[in-house]
Amino acid sequence: MAPADGQVTASAAEVTPGAAGVAASAARASASAAEVAAAVTDPELPMVTLAELGILRDVRETEDGVEVTITPTYSGCPAMEAIRADLLRALRRGGFEKASVRTQLAPAWTTDWISAAGRAKLAAAGISPPGPAPRRAAGPVPLRLGLRDEPIACPRCGEPQTERLAAFGATACRELRRCPACREPFEHVKEI
């Protein structure tokens, strides 16, 4: 169990010297804290890293240890605690015993932060990556009734026009679609 404030200190981590310590120093020589954090994958989308998803905002090495900043994709994302724990564990294994993870709420996460490499990996795994996030004009958020007409291509056969089956998929960030050509359903990361 992590303390309530998400901080893990050297005393809490209880890293014993010895073989693990040697391995840890070797790892520290080979990878920076930023590299270790950037390699951690997302618990729900394990084909992409937190860095590729744009969840990892900053990694800083200070006198007090490593400070990692992450931002939630959705307010209720149940993976945030897992992500925090995964980061602390990876850093510990990488030789960074003192590390903390802080949450940053603003600016709110947008799918525009998913990198080109992340998009390619999602597509390769059969998950259609998001298009550009909607741009808002001034005034109230417009309500769109009826079918959305954005061309979202099938990640399997490339058919450019597919249809939405459900706006809410297996996780908050995905919707379910169907391809009229190859008849296969697929998931699409919603543009937000």
Partner: protein, 284 residues
């Protein structure tokens, strides 16, 4: 560390990082600066965060009661996802309320150990749905109202409320689209679906008065809180757009601005708080 597959993660002995009561994981605002904006009364800010947080928390619970009862799997997923978004908003707001209050209460204390009389949500979120038409009508009215509110909140002088507002807008826009889509499908569907959708709207309509009646806590927090009376014109315009497409009539009943809670809240709290009250501070 990350795992090759989710099943491997489930069997890892120290992978207990899923939030639920008793897991010990708390504070969704970890690392977010906690200072209050200048000139703001901390008790008022705490009360306001509870108002916004309780609306989300209680409606989330009502939506969760639909899980395993929705008409189709896709709607089950949608309702559960909407409930999850609202629960996430509630966690942030209750945590902020606890910080402003300064009495050492966290999100779990506020959600699970408060008495019914201390809850500050609007009556709309509390009522029991009789059928799917009621669910959609309530979700439509709530999400149209809350989207207008969160959008304005994103310019709040309190940076935490502003961030919660900006993030919530993206989520509630999807909730509103879902509810509006079903309202049109049912309203402009068969005679029976039209009748049920209209009945749902008629049932929730008397409760909307409270959504726009100026509130003393909001008035004591200028620049931080949103004056709910200012939401009325956007609400009316969006509802009119949906009702027209859905061939539904705007209910004629007089909205009541009465506040307070009914016996239904006791049922909700008995279910929601039972585990936490039976095992105070329990961690496993």
């Amino acid at each position: 560390m990350s795992f090759d597959d989710a099943y491997q993660a489930l069997t890892d002995h120290d992978d207990d990082a899923r939030w639920a009561y008793g897991t010990g994981f708390a504070d969704p605002l970890a690392g977010v600066p906690t200072e209050l904006p200048e000139g703001v009364d901390a008790a008022d800010l705490a009360a306001y965060c509870l108002m916004l947080g309780d609306d989300a928390l209680i409606l989330s619970h009502r939506l969760q009661q639909w899980v395993t009862r929705a008409p189709e799997l896709e709607d089950e997923m949608a309702i559960a996802n909407i409930a999850l978004d609202l629960l996430g908003q509630a966690r942030l707001l209750l945590t902020r309320a606890g910080e402003a209050e300064g009495a050492g209460r966290g999100e779990d204390d506020l959600a699970y150990l408060r008495e019914a009389a201390e809850f500050r949500h609007v009556r709309l979120v509390e009522r029991q749905d009789e059928h799917f038409g009621h669910l959609i009508a309530r979700l439509l009215v709530f999400s149209v109202w809350r989207l207008a509110l969160l959008d304005r909140l994103s310019a709040s002088r309190d940076p935490v409320l502003a961030a919660i507002g900006a993030k919530g807008v993206k989520e509630v826009a999807y909730h509103r689209e879902y509810a509006a889509g079903w309202a049109v499908r049912l309203g402009d569907g068969t005679p029976l679906s039209h009748e049920r959708m209209q009945a749902g709207l008629d049932a929730v309509w008397p409760l909307i008065g409270e959504l726009f009646e100026p509130h003393e806590v909001e008035q004591r927090l200028p620049g931080v809180a949103i004056d709910r009376a200012s939401l009325r014109s956007e609400f009316d315009a969006v509802i009119a757009q949906v009702l027209e497409a859905a061939t539904l009539d705007r209910p004629t009943s007089a909205p009541s601005s009465e506040r307070g809670h009914g016996p239904e809240l006791a049922e909700i709290l008995a279910e929601m708080q039972g585990l936490a009250r039976a095992t105070p501070g329990g961690v496993w």
